[in-house]
Point group: C2
Chain length 215, copies 2
């Protein structure tokens, strides 16, 4: 009896669904892949580095993921929900300024807790996202459109200052993700202040955007 070569994921002996050991292995691989891809980008990363970090052989890694591309795609799509969540949560119900500052805080927390995920996406975008393009921008664009309308409504209702919704969102992305994507530089620039960078950044950014949104 021959064994099926799975498309994206390994399958158990014959009929079972993913076993505990498989989850552990794929988990270790994805963790290692995140580490390596987020630092070196797709082309710069090698399966050797990933396999070594995940503590298995390269062929064994390729038993769980059909190819380098497949592994990368799995990473991206697996992180998509977490990545979009902060923007998703902006609600039409709450106070506009509070909603937007809440968004800033969530984005900043994400940058602090998941810097590798942030760099993974940053690498993709800088390098023109030859892969994640559709996945990333498709989902994101739909969400973006909705939130732009919401912000424009707030402006039209005179609830916040008349700012360009696109640039508002871009500037929030830029300022928050900067602390994960360019952490190397932040570290090189700040001295003692580095340890508290997220705390002080939070204060600074909330103040900046609050002033910018008040009428």
């Amino acid at each position: 009896m021959t064994r099926n070569k799975p498309a994206n994921k390994a399958r158990a002996n014959s009929t079972q669904k993913p076993t505990r050991i498989q989850r552990e292995k794929t988990g270790a691989i994805l963790e290692a892949a995140l580490e390596v891809f987020s630092r070196h980008g797709f082309r710069g990363a090698t399966l050797d580095m990933i396999a070594q970090k995940a503590r298995l052989s390269k062929p064994n890694l390729l038993y769980y993921f059909a190819s380098k591309e497949a592994l990368h795609a799995e990473l991206i799509s697996g992180l998509m929900v977490k990545w979009l969540e902060p923007l998703e949560k902006i609600s039409a119900e709450g106070d506009p300024v509070a909603e937007i500052t809440g968004y800033i805080v969530r984005k900043l927390e994400l940058a602090e807790e998941f810097p590798r995920e942030s760099r993974l996406f940053a690498n993709e975008i800088i390098q023109e996202a030859p892969r994640g393009k559709d996945t990333l921008n498709g989902h994101l664009k739909a969400l973006m459109d909705k939130k732009v309308v919401l912000i424009q409504d707030w402006i039209d209702d005179g609830k916040i200052a008349p700012v360009d919704p696109y640039h508002l969102i871009f500037s929030i992305w830029a300022t928050t993700q900067h602390y994960s994507d360019f952490d190397t530089q932040i570290k090189a620039m700040m001295n003692e202040g580095y340890e508290d960078r997220f705390s002080t950044a939070k204060t600074y950014l909330i103040n900046l955007f609050t002033k910018g949104l008040r009428l």
Copy 2:
């Protein structure tokens, strides 16, 4: 008589200094290298791609630059001055808010005119700058320290709102460079507005930071 293998640059037949043709070739190579390195990062870039874009053979390219590393180093150091210039120009003499908005405008113009240069540095930093680290951060850090003191002086003199100078500079870097580094995403998110993105961003950012700095 043997020919010397130059360290970083090619040397003419025997005694001359760089000729016109050499300048043209090295120029074409650096231009191509900027294109490729800025998109793929150091590891992701290949000499093949660069040679092809520069319209010469790989060995010929390596006649002008000793190695991939040397070529990359030459690029980085050659762009350093241009890259630091906007920050350099912040003057203690002018009006504080005008000086800072002037800085924002200069940075944004740089992002518009030289997006590849911006991405080149962005790639280096995201990937922990195993190379440019000393060069980039050395020069930048010295400049940063001076400007942080200047901004702090303005605050102490009650000329601008008491904001953290580090985060002020970081947020200016982030918001301006975002338009070059993540242009792919900007393009995917904006519709008709994309063409005017730098003009509308300028208005938006000046407004944002002006409000943030006014007492």
